[in-house]
Amino acid sequence: MNVTMNVNGKPYTRDVEPRTLLVHFLREDLLLTGTHVGCDTSQCGACTVHVDGEAVKSCTVLAVQADGMDVTTIEGIGTPGDLHPLQTGFWEKHGLQCGYCTPGMIMASAELLKHNPSPSEQEIRYHLEGNYCRCTGYHNIVKAVQHAAEIMAQGGQAGGQAADD
């Protein structure tokens, strides 16, 4: 069946099997492979994207459920020449090692900063408890999000296409 959605600001229409998960639609039909799959029980958060501005684990949503919606992936929130403050934060603070969980971490953190521009350490940790990282022990992820919050507080703009609009 046909699904149509705006992904990172561009409209796409594809013919998919009804059972196609949003994450597979993004990765396999649109070749947006920045969104990763780390588990099959919606526990790891590597597949987190934004659907109509809400952080969603794209392995728990069917592509057809996102029909007509706006989807933002890691590829859409900033580019190497115009990074989102969170991308800068993760880079500056060494908030990643293997990089596999990173897109999900950034997308989940973006939602946090949207609702809470200056979260405490505990608020960051609580908000990210749906995202596994096996490399960093989370220490530098917390610092990365704090750093991003500081950049945004100083008026740093989200790079690329605005994250959630």
Partner: protein, 798 residues
């Protein structure tokens, strides 16, 4: 851009942000499952649901008519293709090595063992058909635990491993140890379980193979920490492919932690399928498959005994371990619970006698091999738990009991009673820094204040040493390794002065693409922006042995240093020639080659690189080009060490353990990039804390994995852990050109023991509990507190 900007700063030691990060933070990394080849098919594995079963008929026709199905492969197809057993890479004397076929032919030996493979037009169709394939199983008796597997009448996993014992191994002098016990003022004895762990790199394993019939060439993309090892095993031992016809690429790899060292069944299957189908074939593990097919870790049942004299000086340490190897022996499996474990059971102490006995036992569980630390966390746990028990028995402070038994700085190089020669060390400064950083006396006072309340405090101080930088080849060869353990590096300078480095080490999170150029930028005295590192492709790099055993900096980095020295030596000759000076009169400083005493007479690195390639004016007889390869074989292991401290708060009403603070002082020699080093320590701490508090690859008695998804296997999440306090001392290794040791595993090697001892410190102070096995789940801790209070005459359920 041509040429190099001038520079005078030094990169080694700087906390540079990583060169590799822009692709990861923008979602443009390139992991194996991201790769799409034209005409690509997908494979799905059919895995045994039984821990042990005879495989009867497999009815291929049950799925061949299903949509998109291209082929079904079974163990018979593997046998018909003449494909060999997956070999063991480390042989111990009289080691039993049962066959390990890529697809089980007659018998499945653990839940998850592959019994058939469906290849189809896409992944969903392959998985549909795999779930429908009719396989006749005849379940056989099975066994999951090492102790049960060696009992009289236990089910036998492999007929050619009678009694399920794959090896008996020992090290040290049993008689000397007994003499120590005979002379003892006090002894303690502990029974410890170091539970099964599941590594869980967040990227599931994946492989994609392509075959080109006209040339006979194979290409394999796979999630490997060591693509050359994969190629060697696949070409020479399993697939019988000429080695130069197999190119193995490990692109971006999403974490390894040991679990991506091994040459896995699925890689063989992809290569065969690609050849048989004439199309590329990809497989990507689901997490549920990873749980039953990624190599697992730890799983020791251990008894330790320690003897001390009346001054509290250690006399002897005895260790007896049953190591559960699982259903097959894989690449390093025999080395992990022996040479990477028994040899470390001396710890940081001046111990006159140590004896370690290990029995390797086969069971109907997923195979066990290297997982971050690989043997050394188990050793640290065995010795450091016992040291705390002894400190309690003597009524001594655990920090001071350790201090008075430390090997002293003047004792290095230090020959232990269990074979190793520690290269360098100075243990007391790390201990003192850690005690100061964590305010140890205040913590003890706080612990006293909290005693008797429903929140109790536990504090630990553990000191560790580990052996890494694998490894001196001749030595490990004598010990049974079937591989060399040196590393290579190629430095290629282009006419424009830009540089590519090639290493046989592999980065799957460790930041090689930054740290290696830091080393090179200093040696070549050019900006780091002009240097890139290439790794992970057997088609582009010289030979190498990959990344594990915290070897990349100490061995791969040293190889790079030697290759760079060859480059600068040749560059200096060319510069001297261009400056019409003798080589002795030329110095390489501040990014230029110049005549000593005549600073205006100079040539840049670019001038030299360009002339090396133009070759219009080179010294007589010199070959053109500016490129060098080095093969570096380390003279010894390196021995990082340090002190770790954990502070836990336990709610005695619920048993919940809160890891409140964690601090450590590690010594890995000089730090190439402190940001990367600290990141490695953070992640290591989290994994060790995970073992201590939550993680357990639990099986039932028959070998059914009970913790088979993230719903049951509990890894630490962001809100489970504190910020870590980290510091370093710097004691260089005397035997490699960078002086560096390793840091990739130290955190994990120390932290499960540190967190365990903190929990037991609380429980011992509050209730006199001497030992409890990890993981310290709320239920387990609550029950232990309840039982101890019941034993002390209090109501059981209050």
């Amino acid at each position: 851009m041509t040429g190099n900007e001038s520079r005078t700063d030094k990169y080694f030691g700087q906390a540079l942000k990583r060169k590799e990060d822009p692709r990861f933070i923008t979602g443009t990394g390139n992991y194996t499952d991201d790769i799409v080849l034209p005409g690509m098919l997908h494979a799905a594995m059919v895995r045994s649901p039984y821990p042990h079963a005879k495989i009867g008929g497999i009815n291929k026709e049950s799925v061949t008519g299903m949509p998109g199905v291209v082929a079904v492969l079974t163990g018979q197809d593997i046998a018909d293709a003449g494909i060999g057993s997956i070999p063991v890479g480390w042989l111990l004397p009289e080691l039993k090595t049962p066959a390990h076929p890529a697809i089980a032919l007659t018998e499945a030996n653990h839940v998850g063992d592959i019994v058939a493979v469906v290849v189809a037009e896409n992944r969903a169709l392959a998985e549909d058909a795999a779930s429908m394939l009719e396989v006749d199983y005849e379940p056989l008796p099975s066994v999951a635990f090492a102790g049960a597997a060696i009992a009289e009448g236990a089910p036998v996993v492999h007929d050619d491993v009678p009694g399920n014992v794959a090896f008996n191994w020992e090290i040290g002098d049993a008689t000397a140890v007994q003499e120590g016990f005979n002379a003892a003022y006090k002894t303690v004895k502990l029974k410890l379980t170091n539970q099964r762990l599941i590594p869980n790199a967040i990227e599931p394993r994946a492989s994609l193979a392509q075959f080109t019939p006209a040339s006979g060439e194979y290409l394999l993309y796979t999630t490997s920490q060591n693509p050359h090892i994969h190629r060697l095993i696949l070409a020479a031992f399993v697939m019988n492919i000429p080695e130069h016809k197999l190119r193995v690429i490990s692109p971006d790899v999403g974490g390894g932690f040991g679990s991506k060292i091994f040459q896995y069944q699925e890689e063989v299957i992809m290569l065969l399928a690609a050849r048989l189908m004439g199309r590329p074939v990809k497989w990507t593990a689901r997490r549920s498959e990873a749980f039953v097919s990624d190599m697992q870790g730890r799983d020791h049942e251990t008894e330790t005994e320690m003897a001390v004299d009346k001054d509290g000086k250690m006399l002897a340490f005895r260790v007896n371990t049953l190591a559960n190897l699982g259903a097959y022996q894989t690449l390093f499996a025999p080395a992990v619970p022996t040479y990477l474990y028994g040899t470390l059971c001396n710890g940081v102490y001046k111990l006159p006698a140590v004896h370690v006995k290990v029995q390797g036992v086969m069971t109907n569980t997923v195979p066990v091999d290297a997982y971050r630390g690989a043997g050394r966390p188990e050793a640290t746990y065995a010795i450091e738990r016992t040291v705390d028990a002894m400190a309690h028995a003597l009524g001594e402070d655990p920090a001071e009991f350790r201090r008075k038994n430390f090997i002293q700085p003047e004792d290095f190089p230090y020959q232990t009673p269990v074979a190793l020669v520690y290269d360098s060390g100075n243990y007391e400064p790390a201990l003192d820094m850690a005690l100061g950083m964590m305010k140890y006396p205040e913590l003890r006072a706080e612990q006293e204040r909290m005693k008797g309340s429903n929140k109790i405090l536990g504090v630990s101080v553990i000191s560790y040493v580990e052996a890494c930088g694998l490894a001196p080849s001749a030595l490990v060869g004598q010990l049974g390794a079937q591989a060399g353990q040196w590393e290579s590096s190629l430095v290629r300078v282009y006419p424009t002065g830009k540089v590519e480095l090639f290493t046989g080490s592999h980065s799957h999170g460790q930041g090689h693409e930054t740290a290696f150029p830091q080393i090179a930028a200093d040696e070549l005295q050019i900006p780091i922006e002009d240097i890139d590192l290439v790794h992970g492709d057997t088609g582009r790099m010289p030979y190498g042995w990959g990344t594990y055993g915290s070897r990349s900096a100490a061995v791969g980095g040293s190889a790079l240093k030697v290759a760079l020295q060859k480059i600068t030596a040749k560059a200096k000759k060319i510069a001297a020639h261009l400056l019409e000076a003798s080589e002795e009169d030329v110095e390489h400083e501040n990014g230029v080659f110049r005549i000593k005493g005549a600073p205006d007479q100079s040539k840049t690195f670019f001038d030299v690189a360009l002339m090396a390639h133009l070759a219009h004016s080179l010294p007589d007889g010199m070959e053109p080009g500016l490129e060098a390869t080095a093969f570096y074989d380390p003279k010894n292991f390196v021995y990082p060490f340090g002190t770790h401290m954990a502070v836990v708060e336990i709610d005695t009403d619920t048993g919940k353990v809160d890891l409140r603070n964690y601090g450590c002082v590690d010594d890995c020699g000089p730090l190439i990039n402190p940001l990367i080093v600290e990141g490695q320590v953070h992640g290591g701490i989290a994994q060790g804390a995970g073992q201590a508090l939550w993680e357990e690859g639990a099986y039932d008695e028959e070998g059914n994995l009970l913790a088979a998804s993230y719903m049951e296997y509990t890894m630490p999440r962001a809100d489970d852990l504190p910020m870590y306090q980290i510091d370093h001392t710097v004691t260089p290794s005397p035997h490699n050109p960078l002086g560096v040791k390793g840091i990739g595993e130290s955190g994990t090697i120390a932290s499960s023991a540190a967190v365990a001892n903190a929990v037991l410190d609380a429980l011992w102070h509050e209730c006199g509990i001497e030992h409890l096995d990890m993981p310290y789940t709320a239920e387990k801790v609550w029950k232990a507190i309840r039982d101890s209070r019941a034993g002390m005459g209090q109501a059981a359920d209050d």
